[in-house]
């Protein structure tokens, strides 16, 4: 259910047009879905994540986020090897709704392809593209 809260667009992550975010943390990149995405999906009831060790390219589907409305593929915003997945989401998928940029993270990628970061958007660009309807 939409909380009617303001959608947040933190500045310390980069965004893909398919609504995933990446945060660089030393050698590792952390990946999740944006606040806009969780709000549009509604109550998330199931998250399917890849096996640790898989290597994926930017744009590859890495899992599924399922809400009461729809099951949506989620895509790698950057290429790299899956170093960890957020196992806590198995029992508490709603964490993605309540804390999309924090405890609701999906993946840790190490090593990751740093060149892919340049193709992602900063918060202002992502926000303006959503507000103009260019991406939805």
């Amino acid at each position: 259910m939409s909380s009617g809260k303001e959608i947040s667009y933190p500045n310390d992550v980069k965004y893909a047009a398919s609504h995933e975010w990446v945060k660089v943390d030393g050698d590792t990149a952390i990946v999740g879905i944006s606040d806009y995405a969780q709000d549009a999906l509604g109550d998330i009831v199931f998250v399917e994540l890849p096996t640790v060790g898989m290597e994926l390219k930017a744009g590859d589907a890495f899992g599924v986020v399922e809400s009461v409305k729809a099951a949506s593929d989620v895509y790698m915003p950057i290429g790299g090897a899956i170093a960890a997945t957020n196992d806590a989401l198995k029992d508490a998928p709603e964490t993605v709704n309540s804390d999309a940029f924090g405890a609701g993270w999906l993946l840790k990628v190490f090593p990751y392809n740093a060149a892919d970061l340049d193709k992602l958007m900063d918060a202002a660009t992502y926000k303006s593209k959503i507000e103009s309807g260019e991406i939805h």
């Binding site: 259910m1 939409s2 009617g4 109550d43 009831v45 199931f46 009461v68 729809a70 998928p93 709603e94």
Partner: protein
């Protein structure tokens, strides 16, 4: 509505009264043998009820059921049209209901003639002469179609094609079908007029493209304005065009997919040709293909040898996909439907379906927001509920739930996925003007309620045996097995 309709109906288990017996068996006339202990269980606790308990239970349940024989059933993308009763008379004719699948072809000539004629009718309607009636439903028809495309490429030694293009407005079965046939799915974006984005299509088509799966009219209820161009782009790249015939009901008798450049398609007989939907009986999803693809069709096909109808196996068939001869009684219903309209009148199905959808849209468009307001719709239309959510805090789910209180089945919601807060309405050609007016009136009243009293919508439905269900809890903590209290 029945006087009992609004009371919750208990489960048979809850009605169980120990010692009540609903049967009477004659004395056992064979030696009694005890089952081995490891096969015995004592945890089943079957309900103990009388015959009248059971009959009344299921009769009450049936009275709570909503069906198209009761009122408008505007599920977008589902085409809940009336199922003519003459179809049911036809399938009850002795030769239809009693023909046995193991009969020899010589003794089933009448049934085979019906199949042969239906193949020809569907070939004529689609503009694709090679037809199989075997697929058990639309989804299986899709798989058959994509396997035919795969067989076509492989037969030419063209083995490197491993991608299928699919627009982002597609039904979910399209990517599932492609993946099942071993292809990688490449998504093509829609543009601002609800067409396929041709630049994105050109960027994604390549010598790896086996084909495209393309629904026209699409799930936004819009006719693809560049249909010939899309198909040309795919053909120029060496791919084939698969037509998802889900929305054939919007163009039947007016445009033929074969003439528009489609190579293979399926038609869901429940959507365009009035057989009952899933719960009402087995489905059927015939596949039509252009003439040179006939060699790949699944076997058998009904052919004609002089005056005799015969089962034929195409030379390079993808094989059998269904036991026996398809879902025969579904074919009889579709045949009856086509014959009862007649060649001259089939196009009225599409004309009235499109008229009804545009009439309904015209009645509500000042209050609800069409996704693509500048275009007329085909047989269905989609509304965008973003403004309701922002201004009134009312979601499309809330609107849909409130529709139940007005005595109607709610439309499809949250599909297609590219439309936020989507409400998707398909009235079908079998609604009268009065029925459309009544439904539009309810939608307008609900919009007024959304402004004046949004809580009424958020808590809806109010007048049903059970009110708003907690679907989030049900999905997060599913209880998959009934446990006795």
């Amino acid at each position: 509505m029945s006087i009992v309709a609004n009371k919750p109906e208990p489960l048979l288990y809850e009605m169980s009264n120990p010692g009540t017996i609903g049967y009477s068996l004659p004395a056992c006339d064979v030696p009694i043998t005890q089952l081995p202990n490891h096969l015995m269980r004592d945890d089943l606790r079957l309900p103990e009820v009388s015959e009248t308990d059971v009959v009344r239970h299921f009769t009450r349940l049936s009275q709570k059921n909503y069906c198209v024989d009761l009122g408008i059933y505007p599920l977008g993308s589902c085409t809940m049209k009336y199922n003519p009763k003459i179809n049911e008379e036809a399938i009850r004719l002795m030769g239809m209901s009693s023909v046995h699948p193991m009969q020899t072809a010589e003794t089933a000539q009448g049934a085979m003639q019906l199949m042969y004629d239906l193949q020809n009718y569907l070939g004529e309607i689609s503009g694709m002469p090679a037809v199989t009636l075997q697929p058990a439903a639309g989804a299986q028809g899709e798989l058959v179609g994509i396997l035919i495309i795969r067989a076509y490429h492989l037969s030419r030694g063209d083995i490197a094609r491993n991608e299928v293009l699919i627009p982002d407005s597609a039904h979910g079965t399209n990517p599932a079908t492609s993946a099942m046939a071993g292809y990688k799915v490449v998504e093509v974006k829609s543009d601002a007029r609800g067409n396929m984005d041709l630049d994105d299509l050109r960027a994604k088509v390549s010598n790896k493209t086996a084909g495209i799966m393309f629904t026209n009219p699409n799930t936004l209820g819009l006719f693809e304005e560049h249909v010939r161009e899309v198909n040309q782009i795919i053909h120029d790249a060496g791919g084939l065009v698969y037509g998802d015939g889900a929305n054939l009901n919007a163009i039947i008798g007016i445009a033929r997919p074969g003439d528009l450049g489609f190579d293979v398609m399926h038609s869901n007989l429940h959507k365009t040709f009035s057989i009952p939907h899933g719960g009402g009986g087995p489905g059927s999803g015939p596949v039509m293909a252009r003439a040179d693809l006939a060699q790949f069709l699944p076997s058998p096909i009904v052919g004609k040898n002089g005056d005799e109808y015969v089962f034929e196996n195409p030379a390079h068939s993808i094989g059998r996909i269904k036991s026996f001869w398809g879902n025969f009684l579904a074919l009889v219903r579709a045949y009856t439907y086509i014959r009862s309209y007649g060649k001259e009148h089939l196009k009225e199905i599409a004309e009235v379906a499109v008229l009804n959808a545009n009439y309904l849209l015209a009645l509500i468009r000042d209050v609800y927001d069409p996704q693509i307001p500048e275009r007329e719709c085909k047989h269905e239309f989609v509304l965008n509920g973003t403004r309701f959510k922002k201004e009134y805090g009312v979601t499309t789910l809330d609107v849909a739930k409130r529709i139940i209180d007005y005595g109607f089945y709610p439309p499809t919601i949250y599909f297609p996925l590219i439309v936020p807060e989507c409400l998707m309405i398909e009235p079908t050609e079998t609604q009268s003007k009065a029925s459309l007016d009544e439904f539009a009136d309810a939608l307008l009243k609900i919009a007024q309620e959304a402004r004046d009293n949004p809580k009424l919508l958020r808590d809806a439905p109010h007048d049903t045996p059970v009110t708003r269900l907690d679907d989030v809890k049900a999905a997060r903590e599913p209880v998959l097995r009934y446990e006795h209290a």
